[in-house]
Symmetry: C2
Subunit: 488 residues, 2 copies
């Protein structure tokens, strides 16, 4: 319902929402232990709520020992380590590892899973796969008896280094490639090797949600960089690099997840220059490159890098064969040395069988034919989804590649209420706040057209649209923070 600041009930709700909102920001580490919180006056102005409401919120935070009062000077963040992180009293392990919010959503069972940015298994040439596997066993009869090297199968790395050199103008040797079990492992390894607690990390806003989890888990302090249809505000990026000396900038510049934006070539060149100038590594995550609907995207940033500031992560799982779990990291020897060390402790190398199957299939004639069909099939599904969205009051940028639509909800739709209603109607989507390092974006959602077929998309979307019509209140937070979302 609409909040009527006049009524008692509304103010009760408001103070609870301010409480949740402050708690979230504290837990996000926006204010560190012992750090002073904004004054009641300042906060009531920022949130457009009555001071009494803020006061009540602070009182509750104090009551729940999230904050403490220091000689009447104000409210300070209380240490939470002792109570939450490390209880000796019982065998229950309270980990300090955040899980992947996205994987939790992914595991929700539903009829219409628009939350899943994976390829529909029916779009893969499944009946051919067993042929390739058979071939692998003929060629390498002992493949199941043999461990891969930590760095990955030499034959595969050789083939990939030629591929990258020809196709993307990377000039590298097979020693500058590391095979990982999917891009998630690659990003995790990179974070573990490069990021130390309290390091500054730049993330796109919005971004690939598990990246937020991985870098936060490493204890990094996150600075968001807005991404727009035209790319980034490079002056802003330079200001951040200059002022905060970030350790790295994790980006997904090609058919960006979730927005679908592609950063233009000239910006890529400039970004590499900035990275070199301010000694900030660029982690270029590039899983959707081959899924273009119109023309091929610009070259990866790695192609412009001459002094080792770009680490390129290329996942093939997304569209070649999710069940194989193969990705590759391209980087220069200094970084590779550290990645190999980390990999040697996290597994004994990606399974050889998977690498050999991938090798045989990826460089086959058939994959290229398959990709052509795949692009058409996905473009069709995207159009169907977009047709369904017209006249809903939603707004979005039609992507020229990738798996996702990044959709702005009509003003009257309240995210939390929509989530509940959708789950009840067996529909899942990704709330924008999960993709937002600041956990805001409550009027945006990500819906994927890659996993369900035309028929399912039609049915699911028309059911989904029905939920919009129901009279759902505007998010109280969006109301309290009127200007936040307009930036996106």
């Amino acid at each position: 319902m609409i909040y009527n600041r006049g009524t008692k009930e509304a103010s009760v709700l408001l103070f609870k929402q301010v409480y949740d909102y402050l708690l979230e920001r504290i837990q996000r580490g926006e204010w560190k232990e012992g750090e002073k919180l904004p004054s009641i006056r300042a906060l009531s102005a920022e949130l457009h709520v009555h001071r009494l409401t803020v006061f009540k919120a602070y009182q509750l935070l104090k009551k729940n020992s999230k904050v403490y009062v220091k000689d009447k000077q104000g409210y300070y963040v209380r240490s939470t380590v002792s109570e939450s992180v490390h209880p000796r009293q019982d065998p229950i392990i309270r980990g300090f590892v955040q899980g992947s919010s996205l994987s939790e959503i992914r595991d929700v069972k539903a009829d219409y899973t628009f939350s899943i940015a994976l390829l529909d298994p029916n779009l893969l040439p499944n009946h051919y796969f067993s042929e390739y596997v058979k071939k692998v066993f003929d060629l390498y009869p002992k493949v199941l008896g043999t461990y891969s090297t930590i760095q990955g199968d030499e034959e595969l790395r050789e083939a990939l280094s030629h591929y990258f050199t020809e196709k993307h103008r990377f000039y590298l040797s097979s020693d500058e490639l590391l095979v990982t079990s999917g891009s998630q492992e690659a990003i995790d390894l990179i974070a573990r090797v490069i990021v130390k607690p309290r390091d500054i990390v730049l993330l796109e806003r919005p971004t690939y949600s598990p990246a937020i989890d991985v870098f936060t888990r490493q204890g990094a302090r996150i600075l968001p960089v807005e991404i727009h249809r035209q790319g980034y505000d490079l002056e802003e990026v330079e200001r951040l690099m200059k002022q905060y000396k970030p350790r790295l900038f994790y980006l997904n510049p090609t058919f960006h997840n979730p927005t679908g934006y592609t950063v233009p070539a000239e910006q890529r060149k400039k970004l590499v220059e900035l990275a070199q100038k301010y000694r900030c590594l660029l982690i270029e995550d590039d899983p959707y490159r081959d899924i273009y609907f119109d023309k091929e995207p610009p070259l990866p940033m790695f192609a412009y890098d001459t002094s080792g500031y770009v680490i390129y992560v290329r996942s093939f799982s997304k569209y070649v064969a999710p069940g194989l779990g193969i990705a590759v990291v391209a980087c220069r020897p200094a970084v590779m040395k550290e990645l190999l060390r980390a990999k040697s402790l996290s597994d004994s190398g990606t399974p050889l069988l998977n690498q050999k199957i991938f090798l045989r299939y990826f460089f086959s004639e058939r994959l290229q034919q398959h990709l052509a069909k795949l692009r058409i099939a996905l473009a069709v599904r995207k159009e169907i989804m977009e047709q369904e969205l017209t006249d809903t009051g939603c707004s979005w940028e039609s992507p020229s590649g990738g798996f996702n639509l990044w959709v702005r909800l009509p003003g009257h739709v309240h995210l939390e209420t929509l989530l509940e209603a959708s789950t009840a109607s067996s529909i899942t989507f990704v709330p924008g706040c999960i993709c937002d390092p600041l956990k805001e974006y409550r009027s945006w959602i990500r819906i994927s057209y890659s996993f369900l077929n035309e028929q399912q998309i039609r049915e699911g979307m028309s059911r989904f649209k029905g939920l919009f019509r129901q009279n759902v209140a505007a998010s109280a937070l969006a109301f309290m923070l009127p200007n936040r979302d307009n930036k996106a």
Copy 2:
């Protein structure tokens, strides 16, 4: 050569060795930053060397800014963070992740790789594997198009929970099992979820070397627990648990790597009681259980655990199919919850193809027949290796299972010299110090009989023995520390 303390040359060598020895202990964190080192007097007594030698060593440490002198009171460990861990000046990443020392040795190419504790691929039923794979594709035509869940394939976890319940008297549901890509990933995940910097961790001495690397990398402080033919000194274990409140005890009680010892049933029961009493988790790593030569080993400790203090790690890669990389973790829900979070950030679940192949093969009639043959083949290879070792002055405990011999070198053999000579003769083995949390054990080595065939073992061992006869000097360190090794 033999060190003659009289000669100048010898004393030069000695002071350099004292330097290396002190540096190693500093890097091992035995003395923390700002902590005072032993006095020259004390150290010269401990090492049986002239004070001048210690003084020279300290001077060199000071020169290389490893230590500093505080108002003439003595030598203190200097902070190394600024210089080594985190250089902003250039893109070279100096990771704070230690690599796996073992994997480096494993990657050394040689004709006779006694360092490799992996199964000889020729001992696997390779020509049958493709059948199982074919079957998997017939049963699950879309297996390559499908991601596994984070926790692992439900069908596989169901089958394994029945298997564990029947075979090991584990009473658990499939929700208490997590499928990982090999045991290395399992141990890494457990360390990341449970161990915080400066936590105390108990490790067997000697132990599985990558475990030292993993827990050290987490910033744990390691306490060694000697393992003997009869198991552990439980009074000592209780003393350590009582005094230091360790977070966990990582152990490999069945055909222990590297010693081959098996902890008797009554000690297993008592260890679980101690774990509960002192709230210390037991990480039971159990990769060799099925590789017994005589009778089946006692039940895993997990079977005795009633309150969730044991985490059981069972790798099947070692002897079922290394190329698949399948292991499973059994633990109670509180721990599982955290492991799932960590796994969701480190990959998207172990590849489904590998899980399904493993499922079909592991529970097949053929695997059981295969295992019977495997035990005989390995027992034969072990005996050949032991025959070759007789009359060499080496001493060892004949293991009743597993892949390794833990061999004590004759007194006159100097480890470093033997390593050089072996490499020159294209022979590799694992130096005992790598398996020692204290990095000592310079008169012990691990040699594996699992990877080479009878013929290769005979050839390699006779070549290896030849190196003993050469007149190699006793290790200067062993000489300086006469009593260290006798403990083992």
